[in-house]
């Protein structure tokens, strides 16, 4: 019997970024095949290729023994591929039965709706997966795991043979997880193949038959779960040679600049965060996606103000309830996703750089374009921003240079604490190196730097200390000499050094 799905040396690039460098993968009927890898290893790209959302640049896809040259979302669905995402994509105001029907029924505009039929089918599907709620319930009244069951019912109803589950248990409690595992096993019994993505290693050991580890867009290993242990898995995930060198730390660690004690913010889902950042120190903030790193940054910067705990700046207790107060206290945040929020693309380089310092630069009401240009030119020279001039719109710059503009805006405020959220995401290697050297230079000048990064080598290479977050709080603070293994283990919630 041929495998349900087979990928052979699939590659995919986005611009200059090579997301997949050659992934081979196969899925047998009736198995749970776990897919594992750190942030940015290529898991989501791989899923999107299997569901037809992206078309690969190279390699072959074979489904049920037949080679598929052109896979689109529609074709993938017809061939029995279904994906259940971490956040269920249901219509909250429609009933369960309607939601299921929308996925399964003909899309013809004048197709008559057979309401009793819809209901019966939904009830039957829910029954098959052991869900105990009425098909007439509106989806918004369902809990997260119940919504996930609806998603699974949809895939069952559609007769899916290849089911992808992307971190289905990330937001579930222990008991809900057990229920879900049972449903997954039932699915497999009926001959369905499940691709299971999770960061919870215990879950993978409990549920999966085989596991494939992705690293830097390559499938580095596939094998039965029984032959592996946690430590071996982590080694496979992070075990790469360091291909990039980082500028050495030369800063002298000074006084504590910012210090949080049991900081919490219910809106951001973080709690009991205690952390000191010293002048001249680069603290790396590591953790998996969703661990609360960006939320912590937003709380420190006053966007989602803290509602518990205390914050000290230079030993004095402060309160930060808005970004204006944060700026006034010398805290700066270079946000992630610069194309959306870091810079304003239509505006000039100069206007972007001076955005946060209007009050200082223009004490009168009128803008002084010469002063602004001078300020901007200084940063353009200092940070080596490649632009045709201070008046060029930021949209005309390359990604790395846009990021430098975003950093420049906050350097202009002369901050005591600089928070960088994914400062090198999506910039090329050269610009990355420049940004790293810039961070070092700033630390040397006595700035306290808190750097969020999902790039593990970057965290290891740049940080004097590493704070690891998990589940909305800091679970470990490691010194710079620690290994990728230690960081990954802490982020995954294992005992450090459990070799």
């Amino acid at each position: 019997m041929p495998p349900l799905l087979q990928l052979a040396s699939v590659t995919k690039s986005f611009g200059a970024v090579r997301a997949l460098r050659g992934v081979s993968f196969d899925l047998q009927a009736g198995e749970v095949h776990a897919l594992l890898g750190e942030n940015g290893a290529g898991k989501s790209t791989l899923i999107k290729i299997i569901t037809g959302a992206h078309s690969p640049d190279g390699g072959t896809i074979t489904i049920a023994g037949k080679r598929v040259p052109q896979l689109s979302p529609t074709i993938a669905r017809k061939l029995g591929v279904a994906c259940i995402y971490q956040q269920p994509a249901l219509f909250p105001d429609l009933s369960v039965a309607e939601n299921i029907a929308l996925r399964l029924e003909s899309v013809a505009l004048f197709h008559l709706i057979d309401w009793p039929e819809r209901r019966t089918r939904a009830a039957e599907l829910l029954n098959r997966i052991g869900a105990h709620f009425s098909p007439d319930m509106e989806v918004r009244h369902l809990s997260m795991p119940e919504q996930q069951l609806v998603e699974i019912a949809c895939t069952l109803g559609a007769g899916a043979r290849i089911v992808i589950m992307d971190e289905p248990t990330a937001s579930l409690t222990q008991t809900e997880q057990v229920l879900l595992s049972a449903v997954v096993r039932d699915l497999c019994q009926s001959g369905v193949g499940v691709i299971y993505i999770s960061h919870r290693l215990d879950e993978i050991f409990g549920l999966a038959d085989r596991v494939t580890v992705l690293r830097d867009g390559e499938s580095v290993s596939t094998g039965p779960v029984k032959e592996l242990n946690e430590s071996a898995l982590i080694k496979l995930m992070v075990g790469r040679e360091v291909t990039q060198t980082y500028p050495p730390s030369e800063a002298e660690c000074g006084e504590v600049v910012i210090s949080c004690r049991n900081l919490g913010c219910s809106a951001g889902g973080i709690h009991d965060v205690s952390l000191d950042v010293h002048a001249g120190e680069v603290v790396g903030l590591a953790g998996l996606v969703g661990a609360g790193r960006t939320e912590l940054a937003k709380t420190l910067f006053g966007i989602t103000p803290c509602d518990s705990g205390t914050l000290f700046l230079d030993g004095k207790q402060i309160e930060i309830r808005s970004s204006q107060e944060a700026i006034a206290n010398g805290i700066a945040l270079v946000p992630e996703d610069r194309r959306r929020h870091g810079v304003i693309l239509e505006m000039s380089v100069a206007a972007n750089i001076t955005m946060a310092i209007h009050r200082r630069l223009f004490p009168g009401t009128w803008l002084r374009f010469n002063a602004e240009r001078a300020e901007a030119l200084e940063f353009i020279r200092d940070l080596d921003i490649r632009t045709s001039g201070p008046d060029a719109p930021v949209a005309s710059l390359s990604g790395g240079n846009q990021q430098k503009v975003s950093v420049a805006r906050w350097l202009a405020t002369n901050p005591r604490l600089l928070i960088l959220d994914e400062p090198t995401q999506g910039v090329d290697v050269g610009a990355k190196n420049e940004i790293h050297r810039l961070i070092r230079r700033l630390a040397k000048k006595g700035m306290a730097v808190l750097m969020i990064s999902s790039d593990l080598p970057e965290v290891l290479g740049m940080s004097d200390r590493i704070a690891v977050m998990r589940g909305g709080t800091i679970v470990a603070i490691l010194w710079g000499q620690s290994t990728a293994h230690d960081v990954m283990a802490a982020a995954l919630g294992l005992e450090v050094g459990a070799q």
């Binding site: 966007i303 970004s323 204006q324 700026i327 945040l333 946000p335 959306r340 929020h341 870091g342 810079v343 304003i344 693309l345 239509e346 505006m347 206007a351 955005m355 946060a356 209007h358 223009f362 009401t365 009128w366 803008l367 719109p393 949209a395 805006r409």
Partner: protein, 310 residues
């Protein structure tokens, strides 16, 4: 130059229209009718400046026509009660600003979508006014029309007032931090917030300011006739939005300037009389105006596709 391509193309179209008129219908260029036309459109220009700020801020205000009517009637009643002209003027501006403040607090304070909020206030003001006044025209006292000046002097006063508002606002938008903040909020409110700007405050202020400009515009219109028409603001929102869009301001906010709005308004204002002088039948006028607006929106879409922004 490239940054102003939209404004330049509107200005060129306007130039082409005026040139065509000079060749084929020189009768268009007569001092008195042109002066009347300019004075008639001057209040629209002032209101359009306010609308431009609102749209640059990625909002919309469709209640300005109703605001205009309310301000006009109030100004007429106060003038009838023998208030001096400067007091009537400031009262009209204050009323406009308060109506704008209500829109602003609902949009910025409660985060409601501006199209729904201003639709509701539009209907409320319009129907409230109709119920209170039963559609009665307000007679103005002697010496109020043209601010007590001769007609041509009054017309010039109104035109110069409108142009002053335009020039000052255009300078403010470029040279004041506040102007830049409006562009920033309109481009990306979240990015602006992360840069330490307060988008809600800016949005509120823009609605108040637009309301105040409507109050001023209403006064400039009231002073042109012996009576106040309680429906004088009907359709003003469409005229001003059309001028703003034709003038190259992106309906999605953050891009465009007031010079473009000026050119757009001139183009739309000249189109009607021009067609008459070119002996095009009157019922084509609206259709042609509509086509111009459609063309502007299509050009805007093309511009955005070229920029590659979503």
């Amino acid at each position: 130059m490239k940054a102003y391509s939209r404004e330049v193309s509107v200005a060129l179209t306007l130039g082409g229209l005026l040139l065509g008129l000079a060749i084929f219908a020189p009768s268009f260029y007569q001092a008195q009718p042109l002066l009347s036309l300019a004075a008639r459109e001057a209040p629209t220009l002032v209101a359009a400046c306010g609308m431009a700020l609102v749209i640059l801020c990625r909002q919309i205000d469709i209640s300005i026509g109703a605001q205009f009517s309310v301000c006009s009637v109030c100004a007429g009643l106060l003038a009838g009660a023998h208030w001096p002209i400067p007091l009537v003027l400031s009262a009209s501006i204050t009323i406009g600003a308060s109506l704008g403040a209500l829109n602003g607090s609902l949009v910025a304070g409660l985060g409601l979508p501006s199209i729904v909020v201003t639709l509701a206030t539009m209907v409320t003001w319009r129907e409230g006014l109709r119920w209170l006044r039963q559609g009665i025209w307000v007679d103005l006292p002697e010496g109020f029309q043209w601010f007590g000046l001769r007609q041509s002097a009054g017309q010039w006063t109104i035109i110069i007032l409108a142009l002053t508002v335009l020039v000052l606002l255009a300078l403010f938008m470029k040279h004041l931090a506040a102007g830049r903040f409006i562009y920033a909020v309109g481009s990306d409110a979240e990015a602006a917030r992360l840069a330490g700007i307060r988008p809600r405050r800016i949005t509120f202020a823009v609605f108040v300011f637009a309301g105040a400009l409507v109050g001023l515009a209403a006064m400039m219109n009231v002073a042109q006739s012996p009576q106040v028409d309680p429906n004088s603001g009907t359709g003003l929102e469409l005229k001003t939005i059309a001028a703003v869009v034709v003038g190259g301001v992106a309906i999605s906010g953050g891009r465009g300037n007031l010079w473009g709005v000026f050119a757009g308004l001139l183009l739309l204002a000249c189109l009607g009389p021009a067609l008459t002088h070119l002996h095009v039948q009157a019922y084509w006028e609206k259709a042609i105006q509509g086509s111009v607006i459609l063309l502007a929106v299509v050009a805007d879409g093309g511009h955005r596709r070229n920029q590659g922004s979503p």
